[in-house]
């Protein structure tokens, strides 16, 4: 592992070690580029992961204080926990379930496809599927995505059997165990899936792809990576020419440190990334770094999200096996006759008893609620992941009234569901319920959105610097050596779980940064 001095201004400094930052670090290191990788959280391992929902949550989740506002139910149920993301080496790739789906071409052209929708800040991405396809392929082979290249599909569990049979009875045709970044056979020094049922808690066998034990050790092996866990970045500095020069962070010992940089890439997830840009305001950039468009923090998207659970006469034991064991993709199309634009995926989901009690219907009590938990072993469940509308007013701002442990303003996350979101959710609840009713559900439970793991759009891509924060390579329009490398770049949310696209963009961005460095453009 490299030891890069604080005054060394020749390295790329990456903030965040998840899907975007961890991948970008490895890709750059493989090209011989020195990288300082700053991660706010501590380093865990497959050995230290715990299969205990609350204990794991406390080990991995980002629990720094945040505030919320808006009409979304999360603001009431979880006022200080708008998102379920991670603060640990590997970021949210420790927690994600592994679903790896390409965004559809029409979704990259959301504004053109859907037309004008009141109250939605739709825009086409400055890139499309054709341009990204070779990078998607590289990402899929890096991650070992099932049903791509030589990687077979995973076997379905009991929860999938219920989903599949319901889907078939309903006439759906696109249902399988899907595309998962979970080893279906031994691969990349990692075992095949043991069907443990704790994908969300960090995969103890390492079968699920996470930058923690793939990209990061691969990068360390090059000798070019200087990984610094427990390093919480406070601000990014720039010079009089408007180029980013350094990041200021608090290290593991609590000491404030300045690390100089040639290039800075921010991949801190879509709440912390805009917060950091806003907290880096200066005389030259009074509204926040890279924010001449005013779009930093805006267009916050969190996917439609909702879940449908059902109880049956016969046992299911949905908690056995992969959490996202299978998918129905028939509703992922733009079919406006349904009463909304865009589409949604239906993916199996399972929660252990502790989190089922917490998330099934937050705040609920009484026998209606407990009678469902009584049927815990006889439940099946699915998660709905749909495209939500970007809105300028759905945004991450600084809450100057509340400070974090370092004295910095905490992020406030404001979200109001768009009518399109509500119409889509109503449709998805109906269809999801019908899937289960078709195979004899006794009771169907519609679970509202909870803190989201898919957080997107707060530094969106655009060709026009007035309309977005970064260009199609994730380079900020305002600061030539400052990049955004996480889901914040997403122009629109699309319906697919975002990790594969984040990894794809990071691979592509690494090529771009390496080329720009060799041409002395940054």
């Amino acid at each position: 592992m490299a030891a890069i001095s604080h005054d060394d201004s020749s390295a790329v400094v990456i903030i965040g070690s998840g899907a975007g930052g961890g991948t970008l670090a490895n890709e750059l290191c493989q090209k011989g580029i020195k990288v300082v990788l700053l991660e706010a959280g501590a380093r865990q391992s497959t050995a230290s992961f715990v299969q205990d929902e609350w204990a794991s949550f406390n080990q991995l989740a980002w629990l720094d204080n945040r505030t919320t506002s808006g009409t979304w139910r999360v603001a009431k149920d979880f006022p200080n926990l708008p998102a379920w993301t991670c603060k640990t080496v590997g970021g949210t790739t420790t927690h994600w379930a592994g679903a790896s789906l390409r965004i559809h071409d029409y979704e990259f052209r959301a504004a053109s496809t859907y037309g004008k929708i009141d109250g939605a800040n739709l825009m086409d991405w400055p890139i499309g599927l054709a341009e990204l396809a070779p990078y998607y392929e590289r990402a899929e082979q890096k991650m070992g995505v099932t049903r791509t290249g030589p990687n077979p599909g995973l076997p379905g569990n009991n929860n999938f059997k219920v989903l599949y049979n319901g889907a078939k009875k309903l006439g759906y045709t696109k249902c399988s165990t899907g595309h998962m970044a979970i080893n279906s056979k031994f691969r990349d020094h990692r075992s095949s899936c043991l069907q443990m049922g704790f994908c969300f808690q960090g995969c103890k066998s390492g079968a699920k792809w996470s930058t923690l034990y793939t990209e990061i050790p691969h990068a360390e092996a090059t000798g070019h990576l200087d990984l610094r866990p427990e390093s919480h970045v406070l601000k990014i500095e720039h010079n009089a020419a408007g180029k980013a020069t350094a990041v200021v962070y608090v290290d593991a010992k609590g000491k404030t440190v300045r690390q100089r940089a040639r290039v800075i890439a921010v991949a801190a997830n879509s709440i912390e990334t805009p917060r950091l840009l806003l907290n880096s305001a200066s005389n030259m950039f009074p509204d926040g770094l890279a924010n001449s468009s005013g779009q930093v923090g805006r267009n916050y998207m969190r996917h439609l999200t909702a879940s449908v659970y059902a109880t049956f006469d016969e046992p299911v034991h949905m908690f056995r096996g992969t959490t996202m064991a299978g998918i129905i993709q028939d509703e992922v199309e733009h079919k406006p006759h349904r009463g909304f634009a865009g589409g949604y995926e239906m993916e199996t989901i399972s929660l252990g008893l502790p989190f089922m009690a917490a998330f099934l219907n937050p705040g609920a009590w009484g026998s209606d609620f407990t009678s469902v938990l009584d049927e815990y072993t006889h439940m099946a469940g699915m998660w709905i992941v749909g495209e939500d509308m970007p809105r300028e007013s759905n945004r991450v701002t600084l809450n100057h009234d509340v400070k974090d442990q370092y004295g910095m303003p905490v992020p406030n996350v404001h979200y109001d569901d768009h009518p399109n979101d509500l119409a889509m959710r109503a449709h998805a609840f109906k269809q999801g319920g019908d899937v289960y009713r078709a195979v004899g559900a006794k009771k169907v439970i519609e679970t509202p959105p909870y803190p989201s793991t898919h957080n997107l759009g707060t530094s969106r891509m655009s060709n026009d610097p007035k309309l977005g924060v970064v260009n199609k390579h994730g380079r900020t329009h305002d600061v030539p050596n400052l990049f955004i490398s996480d889901g914040s770049q997403f122009t629109t949310s699309a319906a697919e779980n975002p990790t594969l696209t984040i990894v794809t963009l990071a691979i592509r961005q690494a090529d771009y940064i390496a080329s720009a460095m060799s041409k002395q453009l940054v």
Partner: protein
Amino acid sequence: MGESTSQNVLTRRGMIGRTAAILTGTIAATSALATLAPTRVWALELHALSQHDGETLIAFGQTLYPHATLPTAVYAFLAKDLDAAAAKDPATAKLLGDGTASLDSAAGGSFVAASPAARLAAAKSIEASAYFAKVRGQCITSLYNNELAFAHFGYPGASWPQGGYIHHGFNDLAWLPNPPESASPTVGLL
């Protein structure tokens, strides 16, 4: 249900050492949990709350999250956890003490002695209070995040010690047809 109710097992023992009060009970021999617990008799020392607070919290937990056959021992975790919170913070202790009084008042004298319907009505009448929010929120972790509850509801918890479910029934559901190979490949063909 084969289980003693809280009213007749929670007898007052008075002060024992630094302990302010003690709650006791017995897990029914017929309960699935009887083999899991080290002994069928359970006792809970309270340090900051009174015996009456503890008994009321157990009854309140049973009203908010009723499970017909879930042993009172599990509801006692609610009293235990809130007692610990009260011991750390005088404001919480006051909130809980005042809450007992408000439930008793709403139930016309004694919440613990009230009928199930009267308990439910009393709970509803204080639904907007900070006490209600505190206790209801605590129920989620106290009642459902412990091994006794896991055993009761049929959730085994960690599967790592047994090597996951790959050889332990992850796909043993037999009341529906198996999906075709194209949708769900068989293990072993990989």
